[in-house]
Symmetry: C2
Amino acid sequence: MSRKIAGPEIERMIQFLAKLPGLGPRSARRAALHLIKQKDQLFVPLTAALEEALHKVVICTNCGNVDTVDPCTVCTDLRRDRTVICVVEEVGDLWALERASAISGQYHVVGGTLSALDGIGPDDLNIASLVERAAGDEVAEVLLALNATVDGQTTAHYITDRLAGCSVRVSRLAHGVPVGGELDYLDDGTLAAAVKARRPF
Amino acid sequence: MSRKIAGPEIERMIQFLAKLPGLGPRSARRAALHLIKQKDQLFVPLTAALEEALHKVVICTNCGNVDTVDPCTVCTDLRRDRTVICVVEEVGDLWALERASAISGQYHVVGGTLSALDGIGPDDLNIASLVERAAGDEVAEVLLALNATVDGQTTAHYITDRLAGCSVRVSRLAHGVPVGGELDYLDDGTLAAAVKARRPF
C-alpha cells in the first residue's frame, strides 16, 4: 500500500476522480491539485455544477435521452419531424448525431445491444417501448443508427423483425468511406462496402 | 455555435469538466454521460467527495503543502527528520517524493519558479518563509528538489544565494540515468551529466 499523502477527504476525491473515463490515478491527482489551485475559478463552480446537474438530470421516459426535463427537449420540439424515429444504442450516440445536426426527427435510445455473452436479452433494452412508438399513426420510418459492430447489427436485425407488424419503413445508416478519410488507412470491410454501394458521380 | 444538446445544467457540468487537465470537450461529454449512467456508484459519491474536500482543503502555512489540517500531517509528524528541508516547486512534486518514500525530512513548497518572461519574481514565491525556516536551530540541510529545467535551476541558484546567511548545507538532487532507463533513449545532457558524476562500482 502506498503512503497516504493528503487528508482522507482529498484521497477520496482523487479516488473518485480516477474513476472518470479518460482519467487514471496519476491524472486524477493532477486534476485534484489543479482544482485546489484554481479554487475559485474551477473547484467551486465545478462542484456547484455537478451538484446542480445531479439533482436535475432525468431520463426521458419517451425516448431514453438524458435531459433536465421529461419529456426531453428533443421530444417536445415541435419543429422536429415526427415521422422519423432514429434508434441509437446510447445517449452519447444521440449527442453525436445532434452535434452533426444529422437528424431532424425523433430518437429512441435502446440502451445497449443484445449480447449473449454478457447475458443481455431483448427485455434488458428499451425495445418494447420502441415498437409501441413505431406503431403510432405519425411514424413512417425507423432509422437504425446502431454501431456497425457484430452486436449492433444483431440488434438491428432483431429490431427489424420486431417492427415487422408496424407499417413503418426500416432503414439503416450507409456504410462507406468516412468523409475526409484516406483509402489507404481504411479496413477491407469498409472498402468492400463502399465499392458495393457505389453511387453515380 | 453548436446546437445545445442537453439542459443548461448538464452543459455547464460538461463545460467545467472539460477544464480538468487530461479532459477535453469530447472526453468531458463522455465523463458526464458516465456519471449520469453510474449515478449511485459514481455521480453521487464524487459530488459528495468534491463538496467535502472543497470545504476541508487548506494550504499548510508552514510548508505550503495541501492537506485538510494546518499545519499539515507532514509538518506535525514527529517521526520525520526535522534537520532536512526538501524544497519543491509544486505540491505535485511533494506528492511524487512522498509516493516514492524518498524523503524522510520536511518540505517547503515555493509555488513555482522565477521567470522573467512570466514576470514571476522572488516576492511571488514562498522564498522568504523558507529562509526564515532555514535560519531555525534544528535545520542542518536544505535539499533543492526543483525541476531540472532552466527556470528550476535559476530558482535553485537564487535560493542558494539567499540561504548564504544561514548555517545550512545546501544540496540538490543527483542528475543521471533514470533507474530502468535505456541509454539509447536518453538526451545528450543527461548522458553527459551521468558520465561526469560516475561512481565506483
